[in-house]
Every structure is written in C-alpha cells, then in structure tokens.
C-alpha cells in the first residue's frame, strides 16, 4: 500500500466511463452521483439521491434483468458499508455482467467528513473476496484503474474494485433530482414504455 493516495475521484470516474458504450450505470447517493453526472449525463445513468445502502442491489436486479449488457455500480465507502449484506447477496447470484466500483475516501463526505470504517482498517475488497466475487482488488494508481476499466466488456464478473481516492471535495455537479424522470428515461432508452 503506498503512503500517499493520489487518485482524484472525478478523474477516476472519467476514466471508468470513457467509451462506455451501452453500459448501464447505477450510482450511490452523494458524491458518487455528482461524479458520474460530471463525467457526462447519459440516459443509461440511474442517479440516486437517497435509498442509502441500495445501490449494489439495484445494480444486481438490473444485471439479472439485462444479462447481455454490462452494469456498473459506482458508489462510495459509506454507501457500500450501509449495504454490506448486499456483497453476499450479489456474490451468491454470480452475475457475470456486474462490476462494482467503490470510491473510497475513507470518510463520510456529505455529512462533515467523519472517518468511515475503511479508515479504521475495514477492507471492502477483502469482504468481496470472502463473499466469492470472481475478482476483487484495491486500486491505488491510474495504471491499475485503467486496466480495470478495460475489463468492462468481459463477462467475467462479478468484479469489485475499491479505488482509494483523495479526500479532495470537488464542486457539486447536480443531475436532475426527479426520480420518475431518471427512471423513465433509462427504461425508455432500453426500449421499455411507460405505463
């Protein structure tokens, strides 16, 4: 483990979503949602503004529903910790098209930068390994990050990457907060009509 964390959260998400193709993206509330929006709005993004702890399970339901498309969940350490049981539930399903990315600044960024469990040694990649993810790793540099992003089109999931990011807090980039709009445009993009 290097002494100094250098990866910037916005740059990390930009790298992950560059040339994303028809990949579906679910992002956890708070900074992860802002990062995904800042990388470029897309109809295939499902932005969360609440439902903390639910991002991975939304991604799982979507991955099972759309087995021929890649699904990426991008969330933070706090959101992932609230849904720790979903590591087990996702792993048990073995969805080969699901990737989970945890942007880990080891703090609760939205609420005053209190230290999270990962700053006290909790190893989320280790949890995923223990749950039976096909691959799981902690990323400290852009080379490893880009190598992970290149795996995007391979059906060898479920994969999990914890990306250690700096605590730098970029300006908020706010997508629409209207959940019905966000849901409906993603469904329509996939060809599903409203009721």
């Amino acid at each position: 483990m290097p002494d100094q964390v250098t990866i910037d959260r916005r740059e990390a998400v930009e790298h992950l979503l560059k040339n994303r193709g028809d990949m579906l993206v679910v992002c956890g509330l708070g900074s992860s949602t802002y990062d995904v929006f800042a990388a470029g709005d897309h109809h295939a993004n499902f932005y969360l503004w609440g439902a903390m702890g639910g991002a991975i399970m939304i991604g799982l339901g979507l991955a099972i529903a759309e087995p021929n498309r890649q699904v990426m969940v991008i969330t933070g350490d706090g959101e992932a910790l609230m849904g720790l049981g979903s590591f087990a539930s996702a792993a048990a399903q073995k969805p080969n098209n699901l990737s989970i990315v945890i942007l880990d600044n080891e703090h609760f960024g939205e609420t005053g930068m209190q230290k999270s469990h990962t700053s006290h040694g909790v190893d989320l990649a280790g949890v995923a390994t223990g749950c039976g993810f096909n691959s799981s790793q902690t990323i400290y540099d852009y080379d490893a990050l880009n190598a992970f992003a290149r795996l995007r089109n391979k059906l060898n999931g479920p994969r999990l990457a914890v990306i250690k990011i700096t605590t730098k807090n970029p300006p908020r980039a706010l997508p629409k907060v209207d959940g019905i709009y966000i849901k409906t445009r993603l469904r329509q993009w996939l060809g599903h009509q409203p009721c």
């Binding site: 609440g50 991975i56 939304i58 979903s86």
Partner: protein
C-alpha cells in the same frame, strides 16, 4: 424441525407469478413461504434471490423494473420494519411494487418477540405510501396476488399483501 406441508394457496401464488411473467423473486425465507420458494428455485425461468435483509429486495426489485422485468418480494412480518427508508425509492421514482408478507406474531403466537413488529406491519407500509391487502382465507390468496400484480405492473401501484397467521397456521413448538 418438521417440514410444513405444502398448501394449495402456495401453489396459487406461484401460478399467479407465472401467469404475470414475474421472473425475479427476492426473499428472506420464512416457513410460511417455504413451498413457494422451492417452486421458484425449481423453475428455470425464475431467478430466486436470497437476501441478507429485506430492504435489499426492494432495491433489487427496482433494478429489475429498470431492466423491464417483474419482481415480487417475499418476506415475513418481522422484516417489514427493515424496509422503511428503502421504500422511499419506490415512492420517489414511482416504481411498481409487490411484496407478499407472511404474518407472525398475531394469532396464537408463542414467541412474543414477533408481536411488536406484527402490530406495526400494516402501519409501516401505509406510512410509506404502500397499499395493504390482507388474505385471511385460502380461497382468496390466488386472486388477491393476481389482482395486486396486475395493478402494480399495469399502472405503477405499490401493494403489500399480508398473509394472516390464521391462514398460514400457528408455528408448532
């Protein structure tokens, strides 16, 4: 522990799920749902999703619908309180939602620890904007599930069906 005998109304639930094309069935197990869960596992067109806690199934059901698939969540009454905040996902995004809840703690219950959540089950759903339907008789189960699934997926309604403990039978100790 003795296996509960399969009941016809469990078959009726399964038939209603099949008729509507429900393909994802997340669940936290309960004896009241045990035969139904087995039927789901035996069906190659269905994905049973075992959960660690009930609110996971709310989130996975929303994910399923984003991808155009129907999901019905199974749980027992003791798990309903775990769901409260996650139900905001349903109401904020106006997702269709059906859950089938087996009741404990309301009729001849030996384990009093089941009682507080049983008493709060209906209120917990209603305060979060979920309509509650209740089945007391075996004959009404199939048609109630059928009606709830239709309303949910045809017009984005949100419905919890409570299967009364009188219907399921008292747990033997």
């Amino acid at each position: 522990m003795a296996e509960k005998k399969p009941c016809e109304w469990e078959e009726d639930i399964f038939k209603a799920l099949k008729k509507a094309g429900v393909s994802q069935v997340p669940y936290v197990p309960d004896a009241g749902h045990s035969h139904l869960i087995r039927l789901v596992h035996d069906d190659p067109e269905m994905s049973p999703i075992v959960l660690t806690t009930e609110e996971e199934g709310i989130a996975s059901s929303c994910g399923a619908w984003l991808g155009g698939k129907k999901s019905v969540l199974l749980m027992q009454s003791s798990g309903v309180g775990n769901c409260v905040n996650m139900l905001s996902l349903i109401t904020n995004c106006n997702f269709p939602f059906v859950t089938i809840v087996s009741m404990r703690g309301e009729y001849g219950e030996f384990n009093s620890w089941q009682v507080p959540m049983a008493r709060a089950t209906q209120t917990s759903f209603e305060m979060m904007g979920i309509e509650v339907m209740r089945c007391n008789e075996a004959e009404e189960v199939g048609s109630t599930v059928d009606a709830a699934i239709f309303a949910a997926f045809a017009s984005d309604q949100k419905i919890a069906i409570l299967l009364s403990q009188q219907l399921i039978g008292r747990k033997e100790w």
